[in-house]
Subunit: 102 residues, 2 copies
């Protein structure tokens, strides 16, 4: 299982567009066999900072996700709205332990 | 709804103790009426870096959590195992939208 955390920095004025595009990507991603979660949240202090919390069954599921049309469309659509490069990190889950509870 | 993300930096040699203490805190927290998630994960690159992803129904639920005996015990127990001060940030969920799906 892999937890993928991404911080995204959106230019002022493009926040609603970003949310809409990310909602479309989320719908496609949640339908992937290897995806367990796809949460989007927004900083309480900085309205341009968004946080993605994605959980996948394994590395192959992450690889597969990055080849899907919904991911590639999202990546190219949001690119011009970025204030700076997004910051992604991989984590291994400790709790919940196992496939349940995600 | 509030998403509370915390990065915790654990001194080398105390990782297992930290996981055990956090598991006990998690059990108590998941039983709180206002808690919706409590995930712990560990960095793929830095074994001393842990990531907490906690979701609460509202600010009162966060306040209540910080007054519970399991939280206070965890806070005091893990304090000497910290490499540096933990880094917590508050987010507002965008997706999932509403109380379901957490």
């Amino acid at each position: 299982m892999i937890v993928y955390c991404v911080e995204v920095f959106v230019k002022k004025g493009f926040e609603s567009d970003f949310i809409e595009a990310t909602g479309a990507n989320r719908s496609g991603t949640r339908a992937e066999k290897g995806n367990l979660r796809f949460d989007l949240s927004r900083s309480a202090d900085d309205p341009g900072l968004f946080f993605l919390y994605e959980v996948y069954s394994d590395e192959d599921a992450v690889k597969n996700h990055k080849e899907t049309s919904h991911y590639l469309k999202w990546r190219d659509t949001v690119e011009p709205w970025m204030e700076k490069k997004r910051y992604g990190r991989m984590f291994s889950p400790v709790f919940p332990d196992g496939a349940a509870g995600w």
